[in-house]
C-alpha cells in the first residue's frame, strides 16, 4: 500500500509509456488501415495520460479533444468512406530498409545520449510543465494562456493567417472549376 502511494505516478508512467510505444508500433505494422488508425488513437490517448502525469492538464485534454476527438475521427471517416481494403502484403519499408535502419539507429543513439547525459537533479527540481508564470505557480491553463497570448503572441497570430491560407488553398485546388 505504502509502495503504491509513493510510486503510483511512476507506475502509471510506465503503463502509459509502454502503451504509447506499443500502439505506435501497431500503427506502422498493422495491415488493416482501420486498425492503424485506432492504434494511433490509443497512442494519442496514452500521450495525453503522460501529459497529465506531468501536471499539464490543459495539454492533456486538448490532446484528447483535438487529436482524439477531431483529427482521428476525420481519419476514420476517410478510411470508412473510401473503403480501404487490407494493404497488399509487402515489406513495411521496401527498398528503403537500409536507410530506415540507419536513421533508426541514429535516433536511438541520440535519445540514449540525452538520456544518459541529462541533469537528473535539475529535471526533478523543475516544477511540472507549464505551471508557473514569473515564479508564481498558477493553473496550467493560465500558464499556457500567458505563453501563447503574450510571449508568443506574434507567431500565434501569424499561424492563424497561415491556417486561413491553408484552407483557401485546399478549396482553390480541390474544387471543380
Amino acid at each position: 500500500m505504502e509502495f503504491l502511494v509513493q510510486h503510483g505516478a511512476d507506475l502509471l508512467f510506465y503503463v502509459f509509456a509502454v502503451g504509447a510505444l506499443a500502439a505506435a508500433v501497431g500503427v506502422i505494422t498493422l495491415r488493416n488501415p482501420m486498425y492503424c488508425a485506432i492504434s494511433l488513437l490509443v497512442c494519442f490517448l496514452c500521450v495525453a495520460a503522460l501529459f497529465l502525469l506531468r501536471h499539464a492538464e490543459f495539454l492533456a485534454l486538448v490532446q484528447v479533444f483535438v487529436y482524439g476527438g477531431g483529427i482521428m475521427v476525420l481519419f476514420l471517416f476517410v478510411i470508412m468512406l473510401v473503403n480501404l481494403h487490407r494493404l497488399r502484403e509487402s515489406s513495411v519499408f521496401g527498398e528503403y530498409a537500409p536507410m530506415a535502419v540507419v536513421l533508426a539507429v541514429l535516433l536511438v543513439a541520440l535519445v540514449l545520449f540525452v538520456f544518459l547525459n541529462y541533469d537528473q537533479q535539475a529535471v526533478a527540481a523543475a516544477p511540472g510543465a507549464f505551471v508557473s508564470v514569473e515564479g508564481q505557480v498558477v493553473g496550467n491553463s493560465e500558464a499556457v494562456a500567458w505563453t501563447l497570448y503574450r510571449d508568443y503572441l506574434l507567431p500565434f497570430e501569424i499561424a492563424s493567417v497561415f491556417l486561413l491560407v491553408a484552407m483557401v488553398g485546399a478549396v482553390v485546388l480541390g474544387r471543380k472549376s
Binding site: 503574450r150 508568443y152 507567431p155 499561424a159 493567417v161 483557401v168 488553398g169 482553390v172 472549376s177
Partner: protein, 486 residues
Amino acid sequence: MGAIEPREFLLLAPEIFLAVAGMVVLAVGSIGRGLAHRTTALISLVSLAVVGALVLTVQGPAVGGEAILAGMFMIDGYALFWKGIFLLATALTIVLSMRFVEEGGYPAGEFYALLLFATTGMLFMASGFNLLSIWISLELMALSSYILAGYFKRERRSNEAALKYFILGALSSGILLYGISLLYGATGTVQLTELAARLPAAMAAEGMLVSLGWLLLAIGLFFKVAAVPFHVWTPDVYVGAPTPVTAFLAVGSKAAAFAILVRILYQGLAPLLVEWQIVVAAVAVVTMIWGNLAAVTQSNVKRMLAYSSIAHAGYVLIGVLAATEDGLWAVLFYMLAYSFITLGTFATVILLERREYAGETYADYAGLARRSPFLAAMMLIFMLALTGIPPTGGFFGKVYLFAAAVQSGWTWVAVVGVLMSAVSLYYYMGIVVYMYLRDAEDDTPTPLPSRLLAGAIGLCAVITVLLGILPGPIVELAKASLLQLP
C-alpha cells in the same frame, strides 16, 4: 517579459492592414463574379499602396531599432528597406498577373488574396527577430507560394510544379525547424540577440549541438534562396508555375529569404562569423558556377531564367559573405535592382506568351526586333542588366558586391563571380542574338496585348537604366538601412 502595450499593435498596423486586405479581396472575389478580376486587382494594388504609406508613417519614425511584441518583431531601417522591395515586387506581380488570370479563367479573388498573404508573410520575415516568428512567417509565404505555383490546375506542369515545390519546401522547412530546435536546445532561446549572447558559452559546452543546429538552419535557408546544392526544385517549379507566379517566386520569395538569411547570420549567429563565412563562401562559389553552366545548356527561356536566378543568388551570397557595411548595402542595392530587372524580364516573357505556356523557347524570340521593336529593346536592356553591363543597375550591383568581397579579403570568390558573369554573357546574349539577328517565320508585327503590362515593362526598364546611371540615391538609402554588423 511584461504585458503588451497597445502602442505595439499600432506599430504593427501595416502588416495587420495587409492581412485584412487579403481577406477583403477574398470576400470581394467570391461575391462579385463578373467584375471580380478588375476589382480585386485594383483593391490589392490600392491596399499595397496604403501599406507602403503605413510602413513609412507608422514604422518610419520608429526605425531606431526597437524590438516589440516580446522581442519578436524588429523595426529598423533594414526591415523597412526590404519591406519596400517586397511591396514593389508584389504590386508589379499583380500588374503582371491581371491579363494572365483573366484569360486563364481562374478565380481572381483567391489569386490576389494569396499574393497579399504571401506578402504579409514577407513583411513579417523582414521584421522577424525571433527564429520562431521568422519560421512561421516564412511558412506563411511558402504555403501561399505552393498554392500559387499550382494555380493553373488544368495544366500538368503547374501541378507538377506545385507538388515538387511543396514536398521540397516542406522538407527544407523541416530541416530549418530542426536546426532551430537544436539551437534552442543548446542555448535555451530563439531570440536573435539573446542567441548571439549565449552562443559562445553554448559553443564551449555543446559544440556538436550548436554546429549541427546552425548548419541545418543554414541549409534550410539555402533551400529557400535556391543556392546550389539545394536548388533542385527551382527549374521545374519556375517552368511549371504560371509565369507571373514565377516572377513572384524569383523576386519576392528570394528577396525575403535573403532578408532573413542575412539577419540570422549577422545578428543571431554573429559569434560564429568565421565558421559560417566558410560555408557561405563554398555555397556561393558552387552556386555561381553551377547556375551559370547549367543555364548555358537550356533551350527554354523560363528554365534559363531559373538557372540564372540561381546564379544571381550566388552573387548575392558574395555580398553576404563579406560581412562588412559595404557588403550589406551592396546586397540591399543588388536585390532592389535585381527585382526590377527580373520582374521586367518575366513581364516581357508574359507578353510574348500566346497561350498559357507557348512562347518560351529561344526560337520564339527570333526576329522580335522586327515584329515588336519595343519589346526587343526592353528585353535587350534587361539582358544587359542581368549580365551586369553598364549602363544598367545590374552593373553597379555587381561592382559593389565584388568590391565588398575584395575589401574583406575574399578576392578569389569575387574572381569566380567575375568569370561566371562572363559565362552568363553567352546565354543572355543568346536571346539578343535571336531577337536581332535571326529572322522570324512570319514577320507580322506582334501587337501589344496590354498597355498596362507594357507600361510596367517600361517602368522596370527605366528604373533599371536609372539605377545604372544614378545609383547614388539608392546607395545612400541602402547605407542608411544597415544592420548592426557581427
